[in-house]
Every structure is written in C-alpha cells, then in structure tokens.
C-alpha cells in the first residue's frame, strides 16, 4: 500500500533519532504471515512435527534410492530366512539385522524396511490428494453457501448435516466394493488410489465446508466487502478477490488437520481389505496381514503401526501448532 503522503528516506531521520536508545534499528512492519511464522518457529513441538513431515515426504520421493541403498526389493521373497513350520523369521526380533533393518515379513520373508518405505508413498499420496479434493469441494460449496445465503445456504447446510450424520466408513466400503476393476482407462492399484482419493475427499469435504461457510457468513458483512460492492464489483469478483484471501489461513489449518484423518481413513480401508491391494505395499494392508501372525511375529504388528502413528502424529502436531500460530485465541 502506498501512503497518500510521500515519505522519503531523508525525511524520516527524526524518528530514527528518537529510537537511538534502542539501537538504531528501524521498526519493521510485519505482515500477518510473518507474525504467524515467528510464532510457529517458537513452537518447538510443532516444528518437530514439521521436520518429520518433510523427512517423510523426502522418504516417499526417494523410496527407490533408499531401498537400493539399505534394503532389498519390496517384493523379493527370502523364504530361506523363515522358519518353515512356524512361518516366523528364524532370527530373534523378527529377523532384524544390518541386512534387514526392520526385519522380515512372516511367511514370505520380504524385507519390511523396503515395504514400510514404499508404503509411505500410498499413505502420503492419498492423504494429500484426498485433502485437496475435500478442500476444493468444501471451499467452493462453503463460500457459495455463506455468500449467497437464502435457500442455497439452507440446501448446502442441510447436505453437510446429512453427510456428517452418515455412516461414512460403511459407505466407503460399500462403494469401493461395488466399483468395477477397470474404469476410465485406469486399472489395478492406479484406479484404486484414484478411487480412494475421490471417495475419501468426497466424504470429508463437509468438515472444511462448515468452517468456510461460517467464516464467509461473517466476512460478507465486513466493510471492505461493502466497499467493493459499492464500487460495482460483482459476486464472483468479491468472492475471489475479497473473501477468498481472508479464508486462506483457516483453510490451510483445517486442511493440515484433515491430512492425518485421511491417512487414517486410507489405512483403515486397506486394513479392511477394500483399499490398496497387495502386492503394492501399504501400512494398513500390512497390519491386516499381521492379524494372522501376531502370535508368532509381534514385530509385524509394531512396525507398520508405528509408521502410521508417527506420520499421523506429525501432521496432527504440526496442524495444531499452525492453528495456534494463525489464531492466537485458541491457545
């Protein structure tokens, strides 16, 4: 923003002189974003979460490299290391060693380290993309409901209520189970990942939709929106240029907090056998096979579970910190 009165450098010498006692440092204006960033940086727990998230994303991206360096191909069988009668790894601790960092999968003897590393790809991909879908639908419908009000608002709000009262998991299971094996030129796990993204996103948009709607309802009454309207701006312009920029913070916070929920959703579906299918490694599917072997191979329960827990916890911690940083009232 340019101030109506030009103030050039030399003319501001006086305030500088006043500030001499505090060390001649010019007072800097801070944007809301900068303030939030400073607050976030001071929050050690949240920053730890953030670092873990970055590491996880790197692990997912460089999974092939990591596996090549430290592991064996994720679908390579090592049945010579498995006790043929029990089905459990012969060595203690699930066969953990320098060669197999996280031990072996029971019965097949596949390298758990590689499978965990590759499993992060599915979790993060579905978690991020489903959240994107949910945020897109939720923001669009939430803004429309909040801005236009009237019967449009009533209709959308009602739909959101119904969605929130639905037995969603049952529905998701039913839909995944009923869809064909190939569709729209996609097949196999590519199709399943796309399906999971759409279904999870489609079922979780009301959580963001409600928040956006509420915020829009109050933003609509603010002076700057009145001003834009008085200057002749039409609804699409006001929504995109005046209201949406003010919604970025809440959308960011709730989207961040939705990622872990969606990761759990995906893991749950894969656990139930209606998500990602083997041989593609996914954490939920590993736990589902661990049900059969938990008595002989406890490490097969613990390792994928910890992977899910660490990922979800990192996002939750970071999301909480982000919310506190952007909205100090919630502290």
């Amino acid at each position: 923003m340019t101030a109506p009165i030009e103030v050039s450098g030399s003319e501001t010498a006086q305030p500088d002189a006043v500030l001499e006692g505090v060390g001649r440092k010019a007072i800097q204006g801070r944007s809301l974003g900068q303030i939030a960033w400073l607050r976030l940086r001071r929050d050690k727990v949240a920053m730890t979460g953030g670092v873990v998230i970055i590491l996880l994303v790197l692990v997912a991206i460089f999974a092939p490299v990591l596996v090549k360096l430290f592991g064996h191909p994720p679908n390579e069988y090592h049945q010579d290391l498995i006790d043929p009668t029990l089905g459990a790894p012969m060595k203690p601790l699930g066969g953990m060693s320098g060669d197999f960092l996280l031990g072996l999968e029971p019965t097949t003897g596949r390298d758990l380290f590689s499978r965990i590393i590759y499993g992060s790809r599915v979790s993060l991909l579905v978690g991020f993309l489903a959240t994107l879908v949910a945020a897109f639908i939720g923001t669009t419908l939430g803004v429309i409901a909040g801005y236009f009000g009237g019967w449009i608002d009533t209709l959308i709000a009602r739909v959101m209520d119904i969605f929130l009262a639905f037995p969603l998991l049952l529905f998701a299971i039913a839909i995944v189970g009923v869809l064909p094996d190939s569709m729209l030129g996609l097949s196999g796990n590519g199709l399943r990942i796309a399906m999971l993204v759409v279904i999870i996103g489609f079922f979780s948009w009301p959580y963001i939709g409600r928040i956006v709607r509420g915020q829009t309802l109050s933003l609509r009454e603010r002076e700057f929106v009145d001003a834009a309207r008085a200057m002749g701006a039409r609804a699409p312009y006001i929504i995109v240029r005046e209201i949406l920029p003010n919604l970025v913070a809440p959308i960011l916070v709730y989207a961040t907090l939705m990622i872990p929920t969606n990761i759990l959703f995906e893991a749950g579906l894969s656990f139930l056998g209606v998500g990602i299918r083997p041989p593609t490694p996914s954490w939920g599917d590993m736990l589902s096979s661990a049900v059969k072997t938990y008595q002989i191979a406890p490490h097969y329960v613990v390792i994928p579970g910890i992977a899910i827990f660490v990922t979800v916890m990192a996002f939750n911690v970071f999301g909480d910190g982000l919310r506190d940083a952007l909205d100090p009232r919630t502290r």
Binding site: A165, F166, I173, L179, L272, V291, I308
Partner: protein
C-alpha cells in the same frame, strides 16, 4: 415443545429415507453409470463362476432389469410391508421388516441383523461409558490446570490417542496383553443374559481400546470448550456475585461445555452402533460392522443394504434422542 418434537421426527424420517436411497443408488445406479449391465450385476451376486441360467434367474427374481426407482420402491415396500419371494418351486413369505435373503447362504437378513445387533450394542455401550467418564474428566481437569505439567502430559497423550489407529492399538493389546503376558482372556462375545461376568470380562479389551480413541477426542474437545466457556461473561457474572468457584465450575461452566458435547456424543454413538467396523474386525467380533464388511467382500447386496439401513436408523434415533434432550437441557432451543 410439541412442535419441536414433530419437526425433529419429520426430519429424522426424511434422513432414513435419504440414506437408504443413497445406499440403493450406490448398488444400482453407480455400477450402471460405470457401464455395468444388469447381467453383470446379477452374475456378481450369483457367486463365483455362475451358469447363465442362475444369472437369468437372479435377474428375474430381483428385477434387475427394472428402472432403479421401481427397484427402490420394491425394496421400501419389503421393509415396510414385507414381501414374498418366488423361488420357482414355492413362495417364501418374508414378513416386515424384510431386507430380503442373503445371496451367500440364503438366510433371512432380518434374522442375521437381530443376531448381530447385541454384539455391537454391547461393544459400543460399554466403551461409551468409559470414554465419557475418562474423556470429560480429563478435559475438565486439563482446562482448569491449563499450562501445568498435568495439562501438557494429558494433551500430549490425547494427541497420541487420536493419532493411533484403532486396529493398531487393538492388535498391540491382543499381542501383548492377551497373548504374551496372559493378563486377559481372549476376546469373544457372550450373551449378557447368559453370564454377565463372562460378557464383561471378554469385552474389556475392545472397550478399553475403543474408548481410548474416543476419550482422547473428548478430552481435547472438553478442554477447548471449557476454556471457551470460562471466558464467557456469565462466568464473570457468577464469580462477581460471589458464588464459590466450585459452583461456578459445576453449575455454570460445565453445563455450557457439555451441551455441544452432547451433540457429538449422539452422533458418535449412532455411527458406532451402525457397526464399529474397524474394532469388530480387529477383535473378530461378529457385530454389524463385520457383517457389512463380509457382505461387501462377498458382494452380498441384501446384507449390506440391511446393515446400512439399520445403521441409518441408529444414527437417526441417536440424533433424535440428543435433539430432544437438547430441548430439555438448553431452553434456548425450544424457543427458536
């Protein structure tokens, strides 16, 4: 008050119809849009490698060739008034509420549902008592001791609680508490009427596991709500007029905090009663959720439709009870 109840009842009935219609569309409209023909549908419900005759018979028996609204109307009629099935040799009478016959083992779905409901009910009610007690009390204590070590530890625990998938905590407890350390008997369902002690003893683990997740959620919400309420003007007023702090908290703050939680509680109970799918499959409890899952995996449409309808009914009933309670607890609702 009566107008309020009537309004709620109408809304509840509408919700059940909507949910059943959506379920029906999932099974009939969605596959059709995705390019599945009635023949494919029939063969999917006919089991593995069916003969063309079986496919034809199933198609005729269930009228897959009819338009979807006609099929839906037939389903609704079965639920409300019962229906008859012509198997070719004789006619089977299926009294209302009729959800049809399972494609897999050809038994009356209503009977299966009645068989499964007590299992889910036992699981959810037991867990609900635990999580309500633990969650709310931890949340209130945390809010009152905001910033202390207790608060931080409790909230970190709660955050961990909501980050742990139930099928992981469930499997962990099975692995260690039941199998390795032998502290509790294996999980199974015994009828409460048969032997209440066995019923409780064999369900403790699922109760604790399920309530851990929800207690964590409720502790977080109670704390946030309590902190919000404590900033309200009426709390200041209550303090200013000299009420003891204990009364301010129990009579004023807690009431304001718990009313929104009640809505949450109704929704959660309703959703879980329709099938705690993850918990049930982790502990191999044969409840509604496990039934629905088996139905989906086996493409057993009547079973899935039955469970989802019952689930919708539970959701609506729980919400209805909460709404009515709300009218009692919060006088503002009645006058709105």
């Amino acid at each position: 008050m009566i107008a309020y109840i009537v309004r709620r009842l109408v809304g509840a009935a509408a919700l059940v119809v909507i949910i059943s219609a959506v379920t029906f569309s999932i099974f009939f409209l969605l596959p059709r849009l995705a390019g599945t023909t009635p023949d494919d549908l029939a063969s999917r419900f006919a089991g593995k490698s069916p003969t063309p005759e079986t496919v034809q018979a199933i198609k005729e028996r269930f009228g897959f060739d009819d338009p979807v609204p006609v099929q839906y109307a037939r389903f609704l009629k079965g639920v409300v008034a019962g229906s008859e099935y012509d198997t070719g040799t004789d006619v089977i009478d299926c009294p209302a509420p009729c959800f049809g016959y399972s494609f897999r083992d050809n038994i009356n779905v209503t009977d299966v549902l009645l068989d499964r409901i007590p299992v889910t009910l036992s699981l959810v009610v037991g867990a609900a008592v635990l999580w309500l007690l633990a969650g709310v009390s931890i949340g209130v204590l945390s809010a009152l001791r905001k910033g202390t070590v207790f608060d931080r530890a409790a909230m970190l625990m709660a955050l961990a609680g909501v980050s742990l998938p139930i099928f992981f905590t469930g499997l962990l407890s099975l692995t260690f508490i039941v199998h390795q350390w032998d502290l509790l008997p294996p999980v199974s369902y015994h009828s409460f009427l048969d032997n209440p002690f066995k019923w409780a003893g064999n369900l403790i683990l699922p109760w604790v596991t399920l309530s851990f997740l929800y207690a964590a959620m409720y502790a977080r919400m109670t704390r946030a709500g309590m902190l919000d309420t404590m900033n309200e003007d009426y709390i200041r007023t209550a303090r200013a007029k000299g009420l003891p702090e204990k009364t301010v908290i129990t009579k004023h703050a807690l009431r304001g905090t718990l009313t929104p939680l009640l809505t949450m509680f109704g929704m959660d109970i309703g959703l879980l009663l329709g099938g705690a799918v993850l918990t049930e499959s982790t502990f191999s409890l044969h409840g509604l959720g496990e039934l629905a899952l088996a139905g989906v995996i086996g493409s057993d449409l009547p079973v899935v439709l039955g469970v989802v309808s019952v689930a919708a009914l539970f959701v609506v009933l729980a919400n209805l009870v909460v709404d009515l309670l709300y009218g009692v607890v919060d006088p503002r609702v009645r006058h709105n």
